[in-house]
């Protein structure tokens, strides 16, 4: 990191800003996290481990992990393709497509769930036809996956886009002149610089999906051992007056989210995104 020049060195005012921001973030983020950790560990690690070992809790966590993982994989592929299309091509509706990509962040997730049920539910536009062909989407794991894909759509696209914009077309041309086929070109020239951004976007979408509640509670069916995800399990335990179990599973999600956020930042550094 370049040294800050003397003229820019923070004076007392700067110190106040730093202390103020630290206190702000501390109260806003760190304090609630500490409260949860204390509450979750209040009865000791044994109780925590026991709660986590109940089949209902393990299953809920497992479902959350694999559905988020599958979603992250699809996002990595389709998000990159979307960014590619947006950057490399000029076509009618391109601006509209770009707006559509951001839309999921602006839609309340509960509404997302409702939309999916309207579309894929038994009396839905597609649900009826799908039921006829034996496929089940709403109130089944595919519904969870669709909801997660919807709410995390912008992550990979917006992570890859700036890197693509900065790519030097000269490298690509050089490779082509040297006789590289499209596959080699993609694998050896285009993909490597994109990879950190793709991974960082995928990891962040994964972290975001771990906590998704609003859309899932409507679309998934919430059957323990089948379609009950960890956040909804947590909600149930709170409602049932078992904050201990809720805190235990919350802690696992929290630890994962913290680890993933770190991983995301590390990947961004690797990708050369300037440290903010």
């Amino acid at each position: 990191m370049p040294a800050v020049s003397d003229a820019l060195k923070p004076e007392r005012g700067g110190l106040a800003v730093r202390v103020g921001v630290l206190a702000y973030i501390g109260i806003l983020v760190l304090l609630p996290l500490a409260a949860l950790a204390r509450h979750g560990l209040g009865a000791g690690f044994d109780v925590l481990a026991q709660t986590l070992a109940t089949p209902a809790a393990t299953h809920a966590l497992w479902l959350t992990l694999w559905s988020a993982g599958a979603m992250a994989l699809v996002n990595a592929g389709m998000g990159t393709a979307t960014a590619w299309a947006l950057v490399r091509y000029r076509f009618p509706g391109r601006a509209f497509l770009s707006t559509l990509v951001d839309l999921p962040f602006a839609i309340p997730t509960l509404v997302t769930g409702v939309m999916l049920v309207i579309l894929y539910g038994p009396r839905g536009l597609l649900g009826d036809w799908l039921a006829g062909s034996g496929a089940k989407i709403a109130f089944a794991p595919p519904g969870i996956l669709l909801a997660l894909l919807f709410v995390t759509l912008p992550f990979v696209v917006r992570a890859v886009e700036p890197v693509l914009l900065e790519q030097d077309p000269a490298e690509e041309e050089a490779a082509r002149t040297l006789g590289a086929g499209p596959w080699t070109l993609f694998r050896r020239v285009l993909l490597p610089p994109l990879l950190p951004a793709i991974l960082s976007g995928a990891v962040r979408s994964f972290a975001r999906a771990l906590g998704e509640f609003g859309s899932i509670v409507v679309v998934s069916g919430n059957i323990p051992y089948k379609t009950l995800t960890a956040p909804i399990y947590i909600f149930g335990e709170i409602e049932a007056g078992d904050p201990q179990a809720a805190a235990a599973v919350s802690l696992v999600l929290l630890a994962l989210a913290v680890a993933l956020t770190y991983a995301g930042r590390a990947l961004e550094k690797w990708a050369g995104v300037r440290d903010a």
Binding site: A56, V117, R123, V217, N222, P224, Y225, G236
Partner: protein, 338 residues
């Protein structure tokens, strides 16, 4: 004769008129914390009738602040500081939550009908014309039948449903032998295996049923009747054996006293037992507790061959242990159903 005294009299009259205006008839506010089911009964019939009666008796206007939530959530809200003068909930246990929190200090069961203001039964809602031919609990274990019932962790209604099914089996109302806990658990596991959506509350569950999800929904009779009143076409089947649900209402002593509303709150709870209020409950699908009104409305509510109560299963404390505890019959059936 001068104009002065006349003017003076006029001034007095004017002042008097102003004084009357400055002190309008007192308006009082009563806060009702209720569960969602009887919302229409309270909002459209019972509250307006009570307001009329109170005005006639005392000359006071009563304004109501109404809050409707799932019963457990409402109890937690009131215990957590939502200052309701009167609580109308779906489960005794929820009123006891308020008593344990020190908010209800008097014996709320001392009133008429042991503090209960309405009742219902657990039934099986089916599609118009009952296309799947569902007649009783045993039919719900049929392979491929899609069943809706809410999540017992979040819904008091779901607990009633499980108690109805399990209790009916224990009492010999199904294919299982009377008193055969294993047979009852097996039935429970089979039915749970058919459950496709577990919503967080009874109302949400019926909304999903109305959207076309599921072949049958285990629910309260009044939910079906209210739905039909608003134009839904589904019907319901009354099992041979099912459970009687009783809904309590009580004055929340601490908050009623704090607001100086004791007289008003007590009058409102007492009003709920009057034939007028009881008829309103019946109008919105709830079975009346008043014997006279029950007789009037007997045609609307089919008789049940074996109607049992939560006491027949040992009471809520016992049921929480044997059924809903982590090693209870429900949790084991749920694990077996996967």
């Amino acid at each position: 004769m001068t104009a002065a005294p006349t003017r003076l009299a006029l001034l007095f009259t004017l002042l008097a008129a102003l004084a009357v205006h400055a002190a309008p008839p007192p308006v009082r506010t009563l806060t009702l914390g209720a569960y969602t089911t009887p919302r229409e009964a309270y909002g459209k019939a019972i509250i307006p009738a009570f307001q009329r009666e109170w005005k006639q008796k005392t000359g006071q206007e009563v304004r109501f602040q109404e809050s409707y939530l799932g019963s457990g959530a409402q109890a937690r809200a009131i215990a957590g500081g939502f200052e309701a003068d009167v609580a109308a909930l779906s489960l005794e246990a929820d009123v006891d939550t308020l008593a344990k929190a020190g908010l209800i200090q008097r014996d709320w069961r001392a009133g008429p009908n042991r503090g209960m203001v309405s009742r219902s039964i657990v039934v099986i809602a089916v599609r118009q014309g009952n296309p799947k031919g569902v007649r009783d609990w045993d039919d719900l274990r049929r392979k491929g039948l899609e069943v809706l019932t809410p999540n017992v962790r979040t819904s008091g209604g779901a607990k009633w449903n499980v108690c109805a099914l399990y209790g009916a089996a224990l009492r010999g109302g199904t294919g299982a032998k009377q008193g055969d806990a294993g047979g009852a658990s097996a039935l429970l596991a089979d039915v749970l295996r058919n459950v496709t959506v577990m919503d967080k509350g009874a109302r949400e569950s019926m909304i999903n049923f109305e959207k076309g999800v599921g072949d049958v929904a285990i629910t309260y009779e009044n939910e079906v009747l209210v739905g039909r009143k608003s134009g839904e076409t589904y019907e319901y089947v009354v099992p041979k054996a099912t459970i009687l649900i009783e809904n309590p209402a009580a004055v929340v002593d601490k908050y009623a006293d704090k607001h100086g509303n004791r007289d008003l709150a007590e009058a409102f709870v007492a009003f709920l037992a009057t034939p007028e209020a009881q008829r309103a409950f019946a109008e919105y699908g709830l079975r009346p507790v008043d014997p006279g009104v029950a007789k009037e409305t007997v045609k609307r509510f089919p008789a049940v061959r074996d109607l049992f109560g939560i006491r027949d299963l040992g009471g809520w404390a016992q049921v929480e242990k044997t059924l809903f505890a982590p090693d209870g019959a429900y949790e084991r059936a749920m694990a077996a159903a996967r």
